[in-house]
């Protein structure tokens, strides 16, 4: 198979042209003229992504050619939109146009730099994704600790807008849960590679569906309880859904049993419904969840709209999307600041106002393609651990996009998730670029020739060479 590195370079150049064009359009639409420095963010990003491209060229030459350019475009447009917010703020305050490196746009540029350095380090250090499985239990423990830290910290440090997901130290804040998902995927993958036989073979058939034995349900129930605890103590449905969905899907990929999906969905919806009922009657730790559900069910209800922490944000976001219509008001032509937190959770609503449904769906297709390439690598890679990690990571990315977009558009209750690569914020950017680096590493193993053969070909008779490499052949796991 060809390495396709030049295709990647071409796409990357195209993506950066688009980012520069977006910057220019924003300035033309907002300021009325194009400043001589409009190309600086795009040029800086180009240098950064080019650096990553060369790291990939030398450490993972067969990696998927589409991942980096698609992510780079989304990341670049995110930086562009944040800079557009800076410009808009400065204009409304009658201040001079901020420099390229100031404001949230400048900060996002810096975070991109750090995130790309981390991704490059991951690619340089982890030359074979199977190495990660050696640290599986350490990673699993790290993941759980990262998830739990904000829950046990006092609210003054960890709470932002009612959700306890943060560690805040002065002006610096990180969201440890973002990193936890990568650690947890690696752990789940390792655990399930070892247990898949038991989980998929020992079962009882009820109503035509194979259900696993009771004792094999242990870990699933543990993770379910863990995510419910997250729901209760960190008051965040999105994160809970993310971890639980992640585990169920990895389980499904490992065992090919649809019953896991059914059990998972039943458990999740059951848990959420009970939490809702408890919130309505008991209150206490469940009250926040009940409020959010009310906001979701009746956003235009006057009582919800007026209430502090009510549906104001959601309604403003919906109105933004509606104002944008099909083609949007043009980059720089909207008024995103009506939406609270437009730089974080509601960035899709803010962008939607300016690029319209037409532009948003392009972004969505790009996300879809990124997830598709990840799943493709999962199909093509030879080892079970790699399959589960790649599948789990891509699914998490997809699920996170679903959770936040579903929240913004009113499909599901709104929860504080970041939009991957787009929202302002370092943790999300760093964690998601690490995720992409891991996918690049696995896709390199999936598409490239192997460095060594099967290794266990002792069964070959005397005088026989070890079988030639199987890489390049698509695995087709076949069950009787």
């Amino acid at each position: 198979m060809k390495t396709q590195r030049n295709a990647e370079l071409g796409l990357l150049a195209f993506a950066m042209v688009l980012v520069a064009a977006y910057g220019a359009t924003v300035e033309a639409g907002r300021i009325g003229e194009i400043t001589p420095t409009f190309w600086v963010p795009a040029a800086l990003l180009s240098v950064l992504f080019l650096g990553l491209h060369f790291v990939v060229r030398y450490t993972a030459p067969y990696a998927d050619p589409v991942l980096i350019p698609a992510v780079a475009l989304i990341n670049g447009l995110g930086v562009g939109f944040l800079r557009r917010l800076d410009i808009g703020d400065a204009l409304s305050e009658k201040e001079p146009i901020p420099g390229v490196f100031s404001g949230i746009g400048g900060r996002q540029l810096a975070w991109t730099l750090i995130a790309l350095i981390l991704a490059a380090i991951l690619l340089l250090v982890v030359r074979d994704h199977k190495v990660v499985s050696r640290y599986a239990y350490t990673l699993g423990l790290t993941g759980i600790v990262l998830v739990m830290i904000p829950a046990v910290l006092p609210a003054s440090i960890s709470e932002v807008n009612g959700a306890k997901l943060w560690i805040r130290l002065g002006s610096f804040s990180i969201q440890p849960g973002e990193f936890a998902k990568i650690a947890l995927v690696s752990f789940f993958a390792y655990y399930l590679v070892r247990k898949r036989e038991v989980l998929s073979l020992a079962s009882r058939r009820v109503l035509g569906i194979d259900f696993p034995r009771g004792r094999d349900l242990g870990p699933v129930v543990t993770v379910w309880l863990l995510s419910l605890l997250v729901l209760v103590f960190e008051k965040d449905l999105g994160t809970a859904l993310l971890y639980f969905g992640l585990f169920i899907v990895t389980l499904y990929v490992a065992t090919e049993r649809a019953s896991w999906l059914i059990i998972g969905l039943l458990l999740f919806f059951g848990g959420v419904y009970v939490a809702y009922l408890l919130g309505a009657s008991v209150g206490g730790p469940f009250a926040n969840f009940y409020d959010r559900a009310q906001v979701w069910l009746n956003p235009f209800d006057n009582e919800n709209y007026e209430r502090l922490g009510g549906s104001y944000q959601l309604v403003q976001g919906l109105l933004s999307l509606g104002t944008g219509g099909l083609f949007g008001s043009g980059p720089g032509g909207g008024s995103p600041r009506f939406v609270p937190e437009v730089q974080n959770d509601f960035i899709f609503a803010g962008m939607g106002e300016e690029i319209g449904l037409f532009g948003l769906s392009a972004l969505l297709v790009l996300y879809l393609l990124i997830v598709e390439r990840g799943l493709r690598s999962a199909l093509a890679v030879r080892d079970s651990f790699g399959k589960l990690v790649a599948g789990g990571l891509s699914f998490t990315l997809g699920l996170q996009i679903f959770v936040i977009l579903g929240g913004i558009t009113g499909l599901i209750p709104l929860t504080g998730q970041t939009t991957p690569f787009l929202s302002s914020g370092g943790s999300s950017l760093m964690a998601n670029w690490l995720l992409i680096a891991m996918l690049l590493r696995i896709s390199n193993a999936a598409r490239g020739p192997a460095a060594s053969g099967g290794g266990t070909d002792r069964a070959g008779g005397p005088g026989k060479k070890a079988p030639a490499q199987l890489h390049g052949a698509m695995t087709e796991v076949i069950k009787p």
């Binding site: 688009l18 359009t25 690029i355 598709e372 026989k464 087709e476």
Partner: protein, 160 residues
């Protein structure tokens, strides 16, 4: 900045965005069909090549490329694997290309290797042996189209 320029920039950006999306799809497409395209040039039309009468291992016919490995008997009956340039291993081991759970199969039972457009079957020292039609396979043996390779209770055939 005149209104006209703004409008052009606005829609131009959206169109460029979609062109990017389609370019990405194009790259993925080329990636997916890179192997298939080249193979379809050498392959003969369906239904013309594969009619080697069963039970008589004919000589290897050149120019009729096998494109699929089909399981005709055994638990996996009906399974198809699309052939590429890569060899195919058959056995009970998890990392085989075709994982068969046949009581008479070894962990690494046999493999199929392409050489100059012809597929060869080779036994990897299995306990119960590999048979090409009725004959036991001792060394690398060319596999004609449509002739069954028997491993335990499983039968496999190459199809065009």
């Amino acid at each position: 900045m005149p209104e006209f320029v703004l409008t052009v920039a606005r829609f131009g950006f959206l169109i460029l965005l979609w062109i990017f999306v389609f370019t990405v799809v194009g790259v993925i497409r080329r990636d997916l069909f890179a192997g298939v395209r080249s193979k379809s040039i050498v392959a003969s039309p369906r239904g013309v090549g594969g009619a080697v009468p069963e039970g008589r291992p004919a000589k290897a016919k050149r120019g009729k490329a096998a494109r699929q490995l089909v399981v005709t008997a055994g638990q996996l009956s009906g399974t198809r694997i699309t052939l590429s340039e890569a060899p195919i291993t058959i056995g009970r081991a998890e990392d085989s290309t075709l994982v068969i759970t046949d009581d008479f199969a070894s962990a690494r039972h046999a493999r199929l290797v392409p050489r100059d457009g012809q597929w060869f079957v080779e036994d990897l020292g299995s306990t119960n042996g590999t048979y090409l039609d009725r004959g036991k396979v001792s060394g690398p043996t060319p596999v004609p189209l449509g002739v069954p390779i028997r491993i335990g209770r499983t039968s496999l055939e190459l199809r065009p």
